[in-house]
């Protein structure tokens, strides 16, 4: 991981409490994305966006990817990525990282683990997901 480039991380979250929010592994259907910008290993800004895809009738994965990509996100720390989401994330050049092996991790804990290089990078779909 290059320390100099700005890293913009999206974390699927269950609430809008920023770093305190509980992270979720459900990518497409999470209600909120907490977006954290890191510069040189330090948190620069924290913002949240609502995940419109959580209410979508179908194709939630790609829609969610679309909205975080529009925010300039280049890294995601979720848990399980369905095939549609994984495919779309790859096309958007967003790096995927796996979940923290701890229940009820907060966004802050995930960022912490990320900075310590404790998270596993993921290259393909990790959950069968809903294809249709």
């Amino acid at each position: 991981m290059s320390e100099t480039k700005t890293i913009k991380i999206a974390v699927p979250s269950t609430s809008d409490q920023g770093l305190k929010a509980k992270a979720t592994t459900r990518f497409g259907r999470c209600p909120i994305f907490t977006i954290v910008s890191l510069n040189d290993g330090e948190i620069e800004t924290v913002s949240i966006i609502e995940n419109k895809a959580s209410q979508a009738m179908g194709g939630a994965g790609p829609l969610a990817v679309q909205s975080i990509a529009n925010e300039g996100v280049n890294t995601i720390i979720g848990g399980y990525y369905g095939p549609n989401a994984a495919n779309a994330l790859k096309q958007a050049n967003i790096q995927m990282f796996g979940p923290l092996k701890k229940e009820n991790a907060t966004v802050a804990e995930l960022i912490d683990a990320f900075l310590k290089n404790e998270l596993e990078e993921i290259n393909s779909a990790t959950s069968p997901g809903h294809r249709y």
Binding site: M57, G58, G59, P62, Q66, N70, N84, A88, Q91, A92
Partner: protein, 335 residues
């Protein structure tokens, strides 16, 4: 907004002035009640009385008519044709990466990231063409993706042609294939060649089935004397009540339980009339296993007689259509 309120537009039609040739749909709700058995034997029975028959297999998830007729789809005489849906093809020379197509796609099948050309997640696309119509720069061309295949088996039996639709495994758009088969079967060129068209439907009461019932002039439901058969038939009847079609039912494997008499009384109504029953029969099973229509079996057995009785009733029901239509005017009337 309910299904009900919007369907009231449909008009009660007299079977005699609908179309020529008559289209008979064989359905039933529950799977495995013998729909395909009835459809194939009905088709063969009509050929035996010198009618030219087109049998259309619209159970596209699992088409079985050809198996019951002892035919294979991998035969030189069988012509096959892919069934494709529209998918967008992005023309990079014209596209300005505006993202309008991405926002317009209700399936979220299009991705368009900042500074990138749009891309498609093919299996999410339903072929609605909205993206193509709304692209302000005319940058979307028509592409195609195969979701199924249709097979035409001429002379599967003497005077019987078979049209089979098959959904490619892992595809979801079965209704599109049903639609394709029905529109092919109802073109004047096709209809001109036959005296009767029989459609074998999928189980259930979903939109594939609804499309078939809508296209037909007479509906025959096949059920069995169990609460399962009754429950699923009731769903079909409910659907039929909404679309208003002459409807009849057959009780297959009627001696499976001792509920038959009771059920026939209970199910008969002004929505649907009882045509007859067919008993469980070893000979039918033997013929079924051999891929031979049991009406062609030279032996006589109760179930065959029961079936023929039903067949004669059906003949009598559709006779007005044949009588009303001079043979030189065999074109489907405009609805």
């Amino acid at each position: 907004m309910t299904y009900n309120s919007l369907k009231k537009e449909s008009i009660t039609q007299n079977i005699a002035n609908r179309s020529f040739p008559p289209i008979i749909a064989v359905t039933g709700g529950k799977g495995g009640t013998g729909k395909t058995l009835v459809a194939t034997n009905l088709a063969v029975a009509f050929t035996q009385s010198n009618s030219r028959v087109l049998l259309v297999d619209c159970d596209v998830e699992n088409p079985n008519t050809f198996i019951l007729l002892g035919k294979s789809l991998e035969n030189k005489l069988v012509s096959s044709q892919p069934i494709d849906i529209f998918i967008p093809k992005f023309n990079k020379e014209k596209c300005v990466k505006c993202g309008i197509c991405q926002k317009g796609c209700y399936r979220h099948a299009i991705l368009q990231f900042p500074e990138h050309y749009p891309s498609l997640m093919e299996h999410l696309c339903s072929g609605c063409q909205v993206c193509q119509r709304i692209c302000p720069h005319d940058a979307i061309e028509a592409g195609a993706r195969q979701i199924g295949t249709k097979y035409f088996i001429p002379n599967a039996f003497e005077n019987l042609d078979l049209l089979v639709g098959e959904l490619t495994p892992s595809e979801a758009l079965s209704a599109f294939i049903v639609e394709n088969l029905i529109s092919q079967a109802t073109t004047p060129e096709i209809m001109n060649q036959y005296d009767i068209i029989i459609i074998d439907s999928a189980p259930g009461a979903h939109c594939d089935v609804e499309k078939i019932l809508n296209a037909s002039d007479m509906v025959i439901s096949v059920t069995e004397p169990t609460p399962f058969g009754e429950h699923d038939l009731n769903r079909i009847l409910e659907l039929l009540r909404l679309i208003n079609k002459p409807s009849y039912f057959i009780l297959n494997r009627s001696n499976l339980t001792n509920e038959s008499d009771f059920l026939t009384k209970k199910l008969s109504s002004d929505i649907t009339k009882y045509l007859g029953n067919i008993e469980v029969d070893k000979t039918i099973m033997e013929d079924y296993a051999k891929g031979k229509p049991f009406v062609q079996d030279s032996r006589t057995f109760p179930a065959k007689n029961q079936f023929l009785e039903i067949f004669h009733k059906i003949q009598a029901i559709i006779k007005p259509i044949h009588d009303n239509m001079p043979s030189n005017l065999r074109i489907k009337k405009a609805d």
